[in-house]
């Protein structure tokens, strides 16, 4: 077993999930830049059926040979099946319900999987002004399912987000239905310590798997709410040499 970082562990586990979804016919993945883009491009290289990468810059079916620094890198447009305008990608493709998986990250995530990427502190006089919503609110609302990838810490995993930029399950079960949202909402939260999924009864995020050699205490210590564990908590597989080599080659390119 080779050495690896917790980021690599997180990215590999997200890629595995995307790969499994692609094989199950859930291929269209709307990806943000950074960790989601890295994991999605890793999945494209590892699995027999590739996810179809869709970027908010209007790229549909991108097959970049190297990781883009921004969602607008030329590489994305040059390797896409189709390039459309930004109004079109949101109206005809995301809003119309053509996206299977919305792949997001953020600065804060709360126990109902709501995401904050707007401000830390109050909106009027923020402690930290973050970039803002971007495409996230409508991805979270309209994608068939949402996967979140975030490094776990008490600062990031909070009882309630300072600002609700993108809705997960709102204040709990039933809110998405009340709001008339068409997308299925968050199904997987993949961190550098564990994998969380919403409890079917409450929609609160619970730990369903731990990464190798991670203890429950570490997860509790890194979570800002009184985090619960599923009755059966799995241990994720060690990253394989192929997964790690492919990821490193991708990041080196």
């Amino acid at each position: 077993m080779s050495e690896y970082t917790t980021d690599e562990l997180m990215i590999v586990n997200a890629a595995r999930q995307l790969g499994a979804l692609a094989v199950a016919g859930k291929r269209q993945c709307f990806v943000g830049i950074g960790l989601p883009s890295t994991a999605a491009n890793l999945a494209r290289r590892l699995y027999p059926i590739e996810p179809v990468l869709i970027y908010e810059s209007g790229c549909i079916g991108s097959k970049p040979s190297r990781l883009p620094l921004s969602i607008g890198d030329g590489e994305l447009a040059e390797t896409s099946d189709a390039v459309v305008s930004v109004p079109e990608i949101f109206a005809y493709w995301l809003q119309a319900g053509r996206i299977d998986i919305g792949f997001l990250s953020g600065a804060q995530l709360d126990k109902f999987a709501n995401i904050n990427s707007t401000v830390i502190g109050s909106y009027e006089s923020p402690k930290t002004r973050l970039p803002g919503a971007g495409g996230a609110p409508e991805i979270a609302a309209s994608a068939g399912a949402v996967m979140v990838i975030m490094r776990q810490s008490t600062r990031a995993f909070v009882e309630r987000c300072d600002f609700r930029t993108s809705i997960g399950f709102g204040d709990g079960k039933g809110d998405r239905e009340r709001f008339g949202l068409r997308g299925g909402g968050p199904k997987w939260v993949i961190t550098d310590l564990a994998v969380m999924e919403p409890d079917p009864d409450t929609c609160e995020l619970v730990v369903v798997a731990l990464h190798p050699r991670i203890t429950r205490e570490q997860v509790v210590a890194a979570t800002g709410w009184d985090v619960r564990f599923a009755d059966e908590v799995a241990i994720t597989d060690e990253p394989t040499a192929t997964e790690l080599d492919t990821l490193r080659a991708l990041q080196a390119a």
């Binding site: 830049i33 950074g34 908010e56 810059s57 209007g58 790229c59 883009p68 620094l69 921004s70 969602i71 607008g72 890198d73 030329g74 994305l76 447009a77 040059e78 390039v83 459309v84 305008s85 930004v86 109004p87 949101f90 109206a91 995301l94 809003q95 707007t118 909106y123 006089s125 923020p126 402690k127 930290t128 002004r129 973050l130 970039p131 803002g132 919503a133 971007g134 495409g135 996230a136 609110p137 409508e138 609302a141 309209s142 600002f163 609700r164 930029t165 993108s166 809705i167 709102g170 809110d175 998405r176 709001f179 008339g180 949202l181 068409r182």
Partner: protein
């Protein structure tokens, strides 16, 4: 029609105007933004989906009193330091913000381009944005009774973009990532387009759109005018410069010194390029 960037900005951009310098990582009109700083335009209301380095420069230079946007960061690098300093510490002046999502902003531009007073989308529901943004309302479908988000059309005074080419008549050709630039130009009362080259006749290019000369107010020949953004077919994104900007913009004095030397201290974009050492 075809003129210098100096004259185009002098003629079309005025104190207190609402401006949209659009570009979605690709084709960002940096040169035009610099010229606006050079000419000392003030009290601007800037509109853009993805305000980045050039808006950071305009904000830090004190040209801007309001920003309407949906994502303000340094793509792939991190924060927009001058934007943050303005919002968090009101430096160099108070910056009013009107915040939307990308889908909402794109809908607003499209409504503006289509001559409609508003646009609608499935959006914002369950988020805190409507609590703080007064330009998010709802509309009911007269057929199904569904409630949708409604946002007002954007119709800036001036739309400014960078494109690959124009012909001698002023027809503009753009390809690659098109972003929301077409809508930004069509939604604006006046428009300025900087281009990589001006040719006798526009050759056919796959994926290209053409904006007829009669919807453009001014075309200016500014090679590499999007730098450190890029123009597909002419240049690559200068990712190093974006990372460099983080360091320059973190410190107020370093930022001011940079603007004084490279923008205020140069006559035009060609001199700017020499000054910062880009070919």
């Amino acid at each position: 029609m075809i003129t210098t960037l100096h004259d185009a900005v002098a003629e079309h951009v005025h104190n207190g105007d609402t401006l949209a310098l659009e570009g979605f990582t690709h084709l960002i009109p940096h040169a035009a933004g610099h010229e606006i700083i050079r000419q000392g335009v003030r009290n601007l209301h800037l509109v853009r989906m993805t305000p980045d380095m050039v808006y950071d420069q305009l904000i830090g230079s004190g040209c801007v009193t309001k920003l309407t946007f949906s994502w303000g960061g340094n793509p792939g690098v991190g924060s927009l330091q001058r934007f943050r300093d303005a919002v968090e510490n009101e430096w160099p002046c108070t910056l009013e913000i009107e915040e939307h999502s990308h889908a909402g902003m794109a809908t607003r531009y499209a409504a503006g381009a289509a001559g409609l007073p508003f646009g609608m989308l499935r959006g914002y529901v369950g988020t805190d944005l409507p609590k703080h943004t007064t330009t998010i309302k709802t509309v009911e479908c007269p057929f199904t009774g569904e409630i949708l988000a409604a946002v007002p059309a954007l119709n800036p005074d001036v739309g400014i973009i960078h494109a690959q080419r124009a012909d001698l008549v002023g027809n503009v050709q753009i390809w690659g990532l098109l972003g929301v630039q077409k809508e930004a130009v069509l939604a604006s009362k006046r428009s300025i387009v900087t281009v990589e080259e001006i040719v006798d006749e526009l050759p056919e290019v796959a994926g290209a759109i053409v904006l007829p000369s009669w919807v453009v107010s001014a075309v200016c020949h500014v090679p590499n005018g999007a730098h450190p953004s890029f123009a597909m077919g002419f240049s690559a994104r200068d990712n190093t410069f974006y990372k460099l900007w983080d360091a320059i913009s973190k410190d107020r004095d370093a930022f001011t010194a940079w603007v004084d030397k490279h923008i205020m201290g140069t006559a035009d974009f060609a001199e700017y390029c020499e000054s910062v050492g880009i070919s």
